[in-house]
């Protein structure tokens, strides 16, 4: 049995003037015990999918099942077995940390004590503040409390909608370590994120943009399917280098990528040799050109159907 099965889901939102297609014929499935990531920018359709799977929103067409329960017919059963952490903080701001957790335990007919072992790891960090109102918590602590509340009824599947958005790199790392420990306890996790570097922490991912899935696979398989050599280029003057690389006739794509620029050639023959010569002529010093393995972000940009690509050529 699949934990989640989504088939040809379409969801549109109509406004006075126009219709927006939020989810455009999306299909995927999540295996039991898997961490499955929906990776994409705002507007990709991630939240709509989460809301459909957690029975809070009804799709226009298509079908979806969570642990074999239909999201429309069996919504009550689904609500008992899933934990949902929405993108926006949605706990009771004027209840304390402990009251919030107790409340969520109670509405699921359980107690904090019954399932304490599941949340202990996360909740321990909050216990010193358990009498503080949730509204007065800092961002990172709110996030930990929200996760504890989503876990307290021991769900079979966790739905986490952008749990790390706006969170600093250290806290993001810690959060993913928590997810790994939950996975080890047998919980299936569907998680969304706009941060491409988190993709490799998932077992499988769906890259999404504008309501469509661009690709579904294991992160490493997606990287392997890049299908082109990718080069990291560096020189003393990185800003000039970006402009020069974009003007190089054999450049196919060139993007700034942290401390290097990432480049693909139109033709490989003599590629690096010609480029070296060209950059020398342009007055670059300490130039390095290194063949590298693509990251998920490289793959995402390659797959993106981007209407304004022409602007990148300066």
């Amino acid at each position: 049995m699949k934990s989640v099965e989504v088939e040809n889901i379409v969801k549109t939102y109509a406004t006075k003037k126009s219709k927006v297609i939020a989810v455009d014929d999306v299909s995927f499935s999540v295996d039991e015990g898997e961490i499955f990531g929906l990776i994409g920018p705002d507007g990709a359709g991630k939240t709509s999918i989460f809301r459909i799977l957690t029975t809070l929103l009804i799709a226009d067409s298509g079908s979806a099942k969570v642990l074999d329960y239909d999201v429309v017919k069996n919504y009550k059963e689904i609500r008992d077995i899933v934990g949902y952490m929405p993108g926006r903080f949605s706990l009771y701001q004027d209840l304390t940390v402990e009251e919030n957790l107790k409340f969520f335990a109670t509405i699921f007919n359980t107690t904090i004590e019954d399932n304490y072992d599941l949340v202990a790891d996360i909740y321990k960090q909050l216990e010193p503040f358990k009498t503080r109102r949730a509204g007065k918590l800092s961002g990172g602590m709110k996030q930990k409390l929200a996760l504890s509340c989503a876990l307290i009824h021991k769900p079979k599947i966790l739905f986490l909608d952008e749990p790390t958005t706006g969170v600093d790199p250290v806290s993001r790392k810690e959060f993913w370590e928590m997810l790994k420990r939950l996975k080890a306890q047998g919980i299936t996790i569907l998680v969304s994120t706009p941060y491409m570097d988190e993709a490799k922490l998932c077992d499988r991912i769906a890259l999404m943009q504008n309501g469509k899935i661009l690709k579904i696979d294991q992160p490493q398989n997606i990287v392997n399917q890049f299908g082109q050599n990718l080069y990291a280029v560096h020189s003393e003057n990185m800003f000039k280098l970006l402009t020069d690389l974009r003007l190089f006739p054999n450049s196919q794509s060139c993007f700034a990528f942290g401390q290097n620029h990432h480049l693909t050639f139109k033709t490989e023959t003599n590629g690096t040799h010609e480029l070296e010569k060209y950059l020398n002529n342009q007055g670059h010093s300490n130039t390095t050109i290194k063949k590298i393995e693509p990251e998920i972000e490289d793959c995402f940009m390659q797959l993106m159907n981007f209407p304004h690509q022409k602007e990148l050529i300066v």
């Binding site: 920018p41 705002d42 800092s138 706006g166 969170v167 790199p169 942290g258 940009m301 690509q309 990148l312």
Partner: protein, 247 residues
Amino acid sequence: MKNEIVIKTEKLTKKFGDFIAANEITFEVYKGEIFGFLGANGAGKTTAMKMLIGISKPSYGNAQIGGFDIYKQTEQIKKSIGYMSQKFSLYEDLTIRENIQLFGGIYGLSNKQIEKKGNELIDKLQLHDEADKLVVSLPLGWKQKLAFSIAILHEPKIVFLDEPTGGVDPITRRQFWDMIYEAAHHGITVFVTTHYMDEAEYCDRVSIMVDGVITALDSPKNLKEQYKANSMNEVFVTLARGAKRGE
């Protein structure tokens, strides 16, 4: 570039009761520089930024923004800076042109200037077909690029960008940085916060705040050498891991 100082702070401090949100922050930013203002959640970045743009009074310490004093000349400061954030940038129920008129007016431009600069902006972003549409109908990436262009419409000395690229797709994020480079090239100082560590690499200099204190400030290259790290992400993790006050 190093000649003219546009931001100068001395022991700038903000306390909320016993809690010291920003603790004796001292730094300088130069004209035309891209200055990355990094820190963990809760490190005090927002508090510091609010003092710099003149909307929060420090507990003690001094600062000059574009040569103006943050205690006595907050109105002049507001005229010489631009500001945009991920959370608030434009009025969604106004059209693109109306947003340009509104912000142009707030920043003190004449109607003639607004018209001229507004048209230039629409040309540059190729938004002719969208100019009279509501901002709400624009994709996020376009909104952010437009918001940045409007934030520098009045040619401020400094533009403050608070996580401008959050949630934006990877290509638009890079186009956004093209615009940042261009603004800096024209002498506008860019003061930017981000959680994307690849973007920290694009800054001329970067400061990292931990628990209310600036614990590191240098060029990305020097910081990587100093902390024997391969990337700014490693530098950040090394410094911020020691943070006591978790957000």
